[in-house]
Amino acid sequence: VGVLSVFTVFNSIQAAKDWAEQYPDAYGAARADVRFAPLLARMATGAQLGYFTDLPPDNQAYSAAFLAAQYAVAPRQLLRISPQTQPEWAVGNFTKVTDFASVGAAQGYEISMDFGNGVILFHRTSTR
């Protein structure tokens, strides 16, 4: 029992090592912390932020990207923008370069600052 148990734990170390090498920062939380850091300095800790992305909600990567961004900006609250929910400020979390301005404008927002790495700060221009 002792030998088998120790061997099993040893086996799990190998598996963990392989997994860690293959998927470092598996869900992008650490990357998001780095990407969103410059934006955080500009927003109050209690702020509510809308969320823009170029990923469609039915894309598998959507939820991982949203949750990583939500964790990175916390304790600020990240909200999915809808006709009922349009906070004054919004963050863009983009996977590729696109026409950020028109993405924001479609929801009544304008670019306030581009932090690079697909991170954009938007400001609401109107209330729909």
Binding site: V1, G2, V3, L4, S5, V6, F7, T8, V9, F10, N11, S12, I13, A16, K17, W19, A20, E21, Y23, P24, D25, A26, Y27, A29, A30, D33, A44, T45, G46, Y51, S63, F66, L67, A68, Q70, Y71, A74, P75, R76, Q77, L78, L79, R80, T85
Partner: protein, 473 residues
């Protein structure tokens, strides 16, 4: 400062567990210290998390207030310990087992490898696994944010309304404990959730072996440690920073303390300690509710009268915090049907029963590699060591009930879930098994005869045989 907050919290837990056990933990001193420390890992963070939660709700969750709270709770628990402490009780000498050193060596080697495993994972993923940054540590950040943000932790907006991420009424033991360390430190150092994850996993591992060493024998305790180390369902959860290991600790502590209270003539201190552990279960995860209800029900049936008062008093901190949370949280769990009719329609679908059964069976089968599956190891030990007498087994049978009820409730949740049942099972069944696994091993090992019995018997045979000549040297 994370370490200061952690040490103070563990200090609170150690003084409380030492005072409540009142010398009940007999056996080798090192096992007593480990055992009390394992209960401290539940009681200290539990009490501190409840107090911190109420401080946050009251708008006084500042760094200074948290420091004062931790120091005050440490002083109070130390004073209680000083007032009620008892001298070390008589411990019978450790019974002889010739291969004890092999078991101790293997346990040390195994646990060192487990810590290495934890380090490898944590270095690659300091924010933990999916639910850690999506639920537990996220809500800790909201709680640590102060008066302007704590409500985000219980908001229906959490997780962007996505299934599996939106849990505004999930209990807050883990998040609150991590948050108070972050508040004390003034930043979101990933060391806090990492340390919590390791602490609770080590707590449940230590408690399993140490309690068996006290209740049955040291060799059985060491064997249980080894089988738990060989359980992939346990080791895989050590670094993930979820609340399942913590819930496993609360389940196991509740059962151990109920058993000891029963054997010790209903000691009020042990009953209070059992109540404290039971009350923390629903404060850790919703799966703690069926366990707590079953444990309180079975306790009421066995210990009716004044004994129940001590258990209920002990359960109050955890239950009270959970009830307040449920009242103030916005929205409800999205996976529970809104009407009884909708639930009955799902229950009447036979394929769901089968899917849930297959899911649980798969998780149990996957609890370890087939060549060293923990169930095979336990079965092999049962064949070699044999079971304790049937009458004693039956007398301990009531301890299975809270775990059986918890498993039945978890099975029932799969039957009625409004989420896709395959997705729900595949993303959670392993963790549900991980919650009850240490308790199931503890119950199984309680039914085995200690290895020492055979060596005592052998020694007795040798002693009673006719005098033999001492062999020449």
């Amino acid at each position: 400062m994370i370490w200061v907050a952690l040490i103070l919290t563990m200090g609170i837990g150690w003084f409380l567990s030492s005072a409540l056990l009142g010398g009940a933990w007999t056996g080798p001193r090192w096992i007593t210290i480990l055992g009390e420390a394992s209960l401290a890992a539940l009681f200290g963070p539990g009490v501190a998390s409840v107090v911190f939660f109420f401080m946050v709700v009251a708008g006084v969750g500042t760094a200074l207030a948290v420091d004062v709270m931790l120091v005050a709770l440490t002083a109070l628990s130390a004073a209680i310990w000083w007032k009620v402490r008892e001298p070390n009780p008589y411990s019978p000498p450790v019974r002889r087992f010739p291969w004890m050193w092999v078991l101790i060596g293997a346990s040390i080697a195994g646990v060192l490898m487990l810590v290495l495993d934890f380090q490898v994972f944590s270095q690659a993923n300091p924010a933990g696994d999916w639910d850690a940054s999506g639920i537990w540590n996220l809500r800790a950040r909201y709680l640590a944010g102060g008066p302007g943000t704590w409500r985000y932790a219980i908001s229906s907006e959490i997780g962007g309304h996505m299934a599996g991420a939106a849990h505004p009424s999930y209990p807050l033991f883990l998040s609150s404990f991590v948050a108070l360390q972050w508040v004390a430190t003034g930043n979101f150092d990933s060391a806090a959730p990492e340390a919590a994850s390791l602490l609770f996993s080590m707590g449940v591992w230590v408690l399993l072996g140490a309690s068996l060493a006290r209740s049955a024998s040291l060799a059985l305790g060491l064997l249980a440690w080894l089988v738990l180390l060989g359980s992939g369902v346990f080791t895989s959860q050590v670094p993930v920073q979820y609340a399942d290991q913590l819930l496993g600790l609360a389940f196991l502590a509740s059962l151990v303390l109920l058993d000891w209270a029963d054997r010790a003539g209903l000691s009020p201190r042990l009953l209070f300690a059992a109540g404290l552990a039971i009350g923390f279960a629903p404060w850790i995860k919703n799966e703690g509710w069926p366990f707590a209800i079953a444990a309180l029900g079975i306790a009421a049936w066995r210990f009716w009268g004044r004994a129940m008062i001590w258990i209920v008093l002990g359960a109050m901190p955890g239950l009270l915090a959970t009830i307040v949370l449920k009242i103030i949280a916005q929205g409800r769990e999205g996976t529970i049907p809104g009407t009884i009719g909708a639930a009955l329609a799902k229950i009447s679908d036979a394929s769901r029963w089968w899917q849930a059964l297959v899911g649980f069976a798969g998780a149990i089968l996957g609890a370890g590699p087939l060549w060293a599956h923990p169930l095979i190891l336990v079965a092999a030990l049962a064949i070699v060591l044999r079971l304790i007498p049937a009458a004693v087994r039956r007398a301990r049978g009531w301890l299975w009930i809270p775990i059986a009820v918890t498993l039945a409730a978890e099975y029932g949740l799969y039957l009625v879930t409004t989420a896709d049942i395959n997705w729900h099972i595949s993303t959670s069944v392993n963790r549900l098994v991980a919650q009850v696994w240490p308790s199931l091993l503890w119950l199984a090992f309680l039914m085995l005869r200690p290895p020492e019995d055979y060596f005592v018997a052998q020694a007795a045979v040798v002693k009673s045989s006719p005098k033999r000549k001492r062999p020449r040297e």
